[in-house]
């Protein structure tokens, strides 16, 4: 199983994702430089957190034009696993690989804190190691993570079961006061219709070891690893 982690100028979760893949998970790791239109044969491509190109203009707005993104879009169209975390989610929306947009937090402030997420889809390559309705504890760290989409898109997402994670309380109840950024429908993560492109605002790579406060994030990395193994053995 080979993970690719895309590095844009201004990306900073690349090293954290790389650490988890390489040191915690023990999987194969390749960094994918934004200027190279080459995915180096990776089985799952991660667009990590950060401020790609400074996020000047609009989050993710410039990153989508990077040479590496042409290949990422091709890869996604062929059914390859693409996983956008935080800034990566914002870039996936800008690149039209996922619907909707991430706008400024309703608090108008940056938020870095632990959140609880209720898992609504446990049948995806990214979540197969979770139980449906399981509550994960994963931190967020963003200023523009409020998920927004028009009503038609939202209802399509809901009907198709494309909402993967929702902010919840510790019991898994979706409540306004458990929503840290004002996301519509408390959406923390969505998947495309085909189920191979996931975008999420919380940072699973920050909670893959007990000393960092929890290991729920590792469940997602493990899921991806196992799903790839299954594909290979079928």
């Amino acid at each position: 199983m080979r993970f690719g982690v895309v590095v844009f100028p201004g990306t900073w979760s690349d090293r954290d994702c790389g650490w988890v893949i390489d040191q915690v998970l023990g999987a194969e790791l390749r960094y994918l430089w934004h200027k190279d239109a080459d995915l180096k044969g990776c089985d799952c491509v991660i667009l990590p957190g950060g401020f790609a190109y400074g996020d000047y203009l609009r989050t993710g707005a410039i990153a989508r034009f990077a040479p590496v993104m042409e290949k990422v879009i091709e890869f996604a169209d062929q059914g390859g696993l693409v996983w956008g975390i935080c800034n990566g989610f914002q870039i996936l929306c800008e690149a039209d690989l996922l619907p909707g947009a991430l706008i400024r937090n309703s608090s108008l402030e940056f938020r870095c804190e632990w959140t609880h997420l209720v898992v609504e889809r446990a049948d995806l390559p990214f979540t197969s190691g979770c139980e449906e309705r399981e509550v994960l504890r994963i931190p967020i760290s963003h200023g523009e993570g409020s998920y927004f989409a028009d009503p038609a898109t939202l209802s399509r997402l809901e009907q198709n079961g494309q909402v993967v994670f929702r902010y919840s309380d510790v019991e898994g109840r979706v409540r306004p006061n458990a929503n840290p950024n004002g996301s519509l429908h408390s959406i923390a993560g969505i998947v495309n219709e085909r189920g191979n492109v996931l975008g999420m605002m919380p940072h699973p790579e920050r909670c893959a070891e007990p000393e960092l406060g929890g290991t729920d994030g590792l469940k997602l990395f493990r899921s991806v690893m196992h799903s790839a193994v299954e594909v290979l053995t079928v």
């Binding site: 201004g10 900073w12 401020f51 000047y56 870095c112 760290s141 960092l212 406060g213």
Partner: protein, 729 residues
């Protein structure tokens, strides 16, 4: 040489005194030209030359077995084991933040990051020690500074893990923004910013040079007045994205051995970075051509180029003939770089504009020529005496506790902490909100504890004792995590030193710092002085010597958190309490007084208590440890409950005379910790305490949803939380 040959207004513009001008003319044996005058003006500013404080600073201890680099470089460095070095420094950005809070604070963060990067280290943590006037009046400063720190630190991807926020009247016009950065480098790859080797190339990297920030260093060396707002153009604008690229490119430089040195461009821009780099090597000089400096604007004069404080720039000294190799690394990150000159062996900084020489000054004159100022300190009127017998006893202990927990100086910092990314890097093993934060050193078991501390109210009442207490508190913050204090970086903030009582505060502060650091064996390896934190007509700030400290633990699995960990654990007070009510938060909040002498500090006792905590932590006897400081024992106890999410129950506390009840609960005697321990550890803990001659008192058992001392105090945890979390709202 007569002074009449120079316009006095011009001298004021470059912030030089007539006497200093005479020294310059004497040294050069000719009058300086305009470019030279500007260069000398910024380098001789207080901010760059330390002409007022240098003599005092020599008294600070700066050596120790772990020290790899003491003062004089971009940052200090200590060995932390496993072949790693921790590199760190604190620096003020007070004046810019007073005028333009967001950018002032943001560029403060940017500057301190570059100091650490210049040592070849990867920054792994930021800390910010902040002081404002009371809310809501100072909300513009508070909001702007916090947003600016977040705006820069969050974007560049270095976690902001610790610091302080205080509110006092004296900071209303003069907020303090002290930013600290900690980085990691292999000890054998530690860089020094020394311009070695005549003929080696000077490469300017990063942002293009604009007209921003000209005279910034001089501006930071004046009092703020009505005209200060018009100096807003002297405040630079930060570009954290560019600095992120600069950071990564500088880290990539370790791939080559073509780099001799890296120097950050901060205050006084190109002038100071070139002069300082050359000044560290005997006989070295530099020759640069301003026409080769990439510019942001047209028709910039040599003067503008030499004095610009445009942010996000670095000077790299490259081995002759290897320029392309190094430039290619920067090109990968789409960064501009240009060879602007070379190292010489003539001991002079020569500035060319193409074929024309526009300035030529001896390096030593620039870096060490500023005449040190001889000031005399005079003690001010003694602080108001506190007659504690006149204080009425607290009517309701629970209500007083809630009042203190809600005080802006004691309440939860979460509204600030959550606006900073404190987790990026996957290294934060103790999150902010307790005593020190801790970062792990990836690939090892080593943990690095980091903190800042200073109670400036103590310093106002007694600057010497206040400085000692700041060192002791920082050390306790580190020790509460189970780590051993290693070294200090200090940021000394004062009002106008031309006033004899302020200079006296400086003398006393330095004496206090030196005494405490010697007694606790913690050297000071880097630092910064910020003077003139005073507004015309208004009073100056309290003396505020912020102590940044770094500590080390061999295995971070043994680290301790501030909050209780298990219900049913024994809760203990380690150390002894005295009638230390002078200068306390209790005295200010409940009785409206800033008076008395700060709490008494016995450095021998402080050491004994520290040794006990570290021995017990290392032996696995403790489950948590929390420093008792601002607010006193009861506030520390409540914090340990709030961080745990459960309460504590114990019998009534009956202090033995002459200890007063209010002093036992709210006095701020130093050298005390609130710890928790499993019952099985009690016998060993008690015998350890006896062996270290340290008092140990059982307060109760952790657990439940109230904080209760039977018959004395009973407050539901939810009430504590409401008070504590609402204090900054």
């Amino acid at each position: 040489m007569s002074l009449k040959q120079i316009d006095e207004r011009r001298l004021r513009e470059v912030a030089l005194t007539p006497d200093e001008y005479r020294v310059i003319v004497q040294a050069l044996k000719r009058p300086p030209n305009d470019v030279e005058l500007g260069m000398l003006g910024v380098l001789w500013s207080e901010h760059c030359s330390y002409k007022t404080s240098k003599k005092l600073l020599r008294k600070l201890p700066s050596t120790g077995p772990a020290v790899l680099q003491g003062p004089g470089e971009n940052a200090g460095a200590v060995s932390i084991g496993g072949g790693w070095a921790a590199v760190f420094k604190i620096e003020s950005h007070n004046h810019p933040s007073a005028i333009e809070p967001y950018q002032g604070a943001a560029t403060g963060v940017g500057g301190i990051l570059r100091d650490v990067i210049a040592m070849g280290a990867r920054p792994i943590a930021l800390l910010d020690s902040l002081r404002f006037g009371p809310l809501p009046a100072s909300r513009r400063h508070f909001e702007g500074v916090v947003a600016g720190i977040g705006g820069y630190g969050n974007c560049i991807g270095v976690p902001t893990v610790a610091g302080e926020v205080y509110f006092e009247d004296c900071y209303a016009n003069n907020p303090l923004v002290n930013a600290m950065c900690v980085g990691l480098v292999r000890a054998d790859q530690l860089m020094r910013a020394r311009a070695e080797g005549a003929g080696n190339r000077l490469l300017l990297v990063g942002a293009d040079t604009g007209r921003d920030g000209i005279h910034g260093a001089s501006f930071a060396s004046l009092e703020l007045d009505e005209d200060s707002a018009s100096r807003r153009p002297a405040v630079q604008v930060g570009n954290p994205f560019l600095e992120k690229c600069l950071l990564e490119a500088c880290m990539d430089l370790t791939r080559t051995d073509a780099v001799v040195a890296i120097q950050d461009l901060g205050a006084a821009g190109l002038t100071s970075s070139v002069a300082e780099c050359a000044g560290r090597v005997a006989g070295a000089g530099a020759r640069i051509d301003v026409l080769r400096v990439p510019r942001r604007e047209r028709s910039m004069s040599p003067y503008d180029v030499m004095l610009s404080e445009s942010q996000e720039r670095m000077l790299v000294v490259v081995r002759r003939g290897r320029e392309r190799e190094v430039q290619r690394i920067f090109e990968e990150w789409d960064l501009t770089s240009a060879v602007i000159g070379e190292v010489t062996d003539d001991g002079a900084v020569t500035v060319m504009e193409g074929e024309d020489e526009v300035a030529r000054l001896p390096v030593k004159l620039l870096t060490e020529g500023a005449p040190l100022r001889r000031l005399t300190g005079v003690p001010p009127e003694p602080a108001p005496i506190l007659v504690i017998d006149s204080l009425p006893p607290p009517a309701d202990l629970g209500a007083t506790l809630l009042q203190l927990l809600a005080s802006p100086n004691l309440c939860s910092r979460m509204p600030v902490i959550r606006r900073y990314d404190h987790m990026v890097g996957d290294s934060t093993v103790i999150e902010p909100g307790g005593d020190a934060a801790m970062l792990r050193v990836k690939g090892t078991r080593v943990g690095l504890a980091v903190t800042t501390a200073c109670n400036s109210r103590y310093c106002e009442l007694d600057p010497n004792l206040g400085a000692q207490l700041a060192v002791a508190e920082a050390a306790r913050n580190i020790i509460a995590t189970g780590a051993q204090p290693l070294a200090v970086t200090d940021c000394l903030n004062f009002a106008n030193p031309d006033r004899p009582e302020v200079y006296w505060q400086m003398e006393e502060t330095v004496a206090g710092l030196a005494q405490a650091c010697r007694a606790l064996e913690i050297p000071i390896v880097s630092g910064n002085v910020s003077l003139y934190n005073e507004s015309s007509g208004g009073a100056g700030i309290y003396p505020t010597p912020v102590v940044g400290m770094v500590g080390q633990i061999d295995d971070y699995a043994e680290r301790l958190h501030a909050g209780f960990r298990h219900e049913g654990d024994f809760v203990l007070l380690i150390g002894s309490s005295h009638n230390d009510l002078g200068g306390t938060e209790y005295l200010k909040v409940v009785h409206g007084k800033v008076a008395g002498r700060p709490p008494a500090l016995d450095l021998v006792r402080e050491r004994a208590v520290s040794r006990l905590i570290l021995t017990a932590a290392h032996a696995g006897l403790l489950r948590s440890a929390h420093d008792c400081s601002d607010g006193g024992m009861l506030v520390a106890l409540a914090e340990a409950c709030l961080l745990a999410g459960f309460g504590m129950r114990g019998p009534a506390l009956e202090p033995e005379p002459p200890l007063r009840l209010d002093a036992a609960f709210f006095g701020e005697s130093p050298s005390r910790f609130i710890v928790s321990a499993p019952s099985r550890a009690m016998p060993e803990l008690q015998s350890l305490a006896r062996r270290h001659h340290v008092e140990i008192a059982l307060l109760g058992l952790a657990g439940g949803d109230v904080l209760e001392l039977e018959g004395q105090l009973r407050v539901p945890l939810s009430d504590l939380r409401q008070a504590w979390e609402g204090g900054l709202a």
